[in-house]
Symmetry: C2
Subunit: 266 residues, 2 copies
Amino acid sequence: MDARALGIFDSGVGGLTVVRAVQDLLPHEAIVYLGDTARVPYGSKSPETIRRFAAEDVRFLVERGVKAVVVACNTATAHALPQLREEFGLPVIGVIEPGVDAALAHPDAQRIGVIATRGTIRSHAYQHALAQRRPGLVILDHATPLLVPLVEENWIEHPAADIILHTYLDPLIERGMDTLLLACTHYPLLMPKLRQLLGPEVRLVDSATTCAEHLRASLARLDILAEPSPASLEIHLTDLSEQFELLARRFLRNPPPRIHRAELAS
Amino acid sequence: MDARALGIFDSGVGGLTVVRAVQDLLPHEAIVYLGDTARVPYGSKSPETIRRFAAEDVRFLVERGVKAVVVACNTATAHALPQLREEFGLPVIGVIEPGVDAALAHPDAQRIGVIATRGTIRSHAYQHALAQRRPGLVILDHATPLLVPLVEENWIEHPAADIILHTYLDPLIERGMDTLLLACTHYPLLMPKLRQLLGPEVRLVDSATTCAEHLRASLARLDILAEPSPASLEIHLTDLSEQFELLARRFLRNPPPRIHRAELAS
């Protein structure tokens, strides 16, 4: 048992979908969240810059005494995970492996769709991880850049959402996709819409939920789960704006009353 | 007469719509374009960071011997224009004043719609400039964050474009908008679609064209227009990717055969 908080970071507010999934699955854990909103997005930065930013993010969390870190950012997971594990010597969990594991958990999974931002698709992180784990797998990857602004506009029930999702997904359905992996932390908010659109034939894998499940298993294995206790959530953002605060509150069920402005030591 | 090139910069490739408008209006001018694609977008950065980046961009162009600089970036225009004029001592033209001038050029303009990214709307740069120039004006401002990815996806003729544009613009039409100012360098690509949607009653002001007109007047006044000669265009981007190159070619009518990778001295 370990009462110290979990640290979770992302380049922006998208990682709060992971916070919400962790709150659902591990209701006794205290959480410190860091969103590097001053430098969002990481996807367009160079790998060296991403590794430097990710190390600064983890240092901020480690200084707050966390027992483990979740990298709730696809770009940082793709480029910085091994280095963060080596440098900080505490459990560091990314979003890619849990999603890939979950997508391959069903023995019939043969044709996996992967949707993400252009940066994540271009990094080939999911495609590599899937292909390494199950050679011969058909991977149907597709960049879906309109989905992040769609979620941020809260247009999930808007008629534009149906048209945009059909345009992106119909070609994958026609190519016989049996599983769809949501490889962006904004996309879990589209789950109800996607279930309705895809029907029961396509399995949906949401990286926020699978990441929380992976985290629970790791904490249990290391025997550092929190004891039953009232949980807490602290949110730090490197740049505060009305829009970021609005999104943060929408991405969470019970947002904290106050969001802190963080200064990172570089 | 002055055969030196014009320097034009933006945080990304959007400013190429300004390049195209300048090529149309000033066909003899040589142009050096810099897109700071490694650090795009500027809209979410702090004003001090934006001023530093803008100065680095102008220095890059000045080192290439340009005679004047166009800041084809709304964020950099809003935060860095006076400083750039002071620091570099050559003509520096932004995108905001020309658009505001053109929107107010018609004596009947009373209810001006302004659409832009969330960052530009939040900066209030256009709203301030309009209100200062004509007190009592009704300004109908609206952030339209889905339009940049829509243009970048090349979905201008896609059914989603109609729905998205109607959702954004119908409330402005209902409030009696007589002029619509496109305050983002990506939006000129939506002009034919917007003309069709808005009909002849609403005047459309495109900041790329108005910026090129303002530039021509400035060069003529200073007597530094180029002599009739074959024009040239050099494009430098601080980060090259397939996507940026694709967009660059789509935003221009006659793109150059080669796009250069630029290193900025900081």
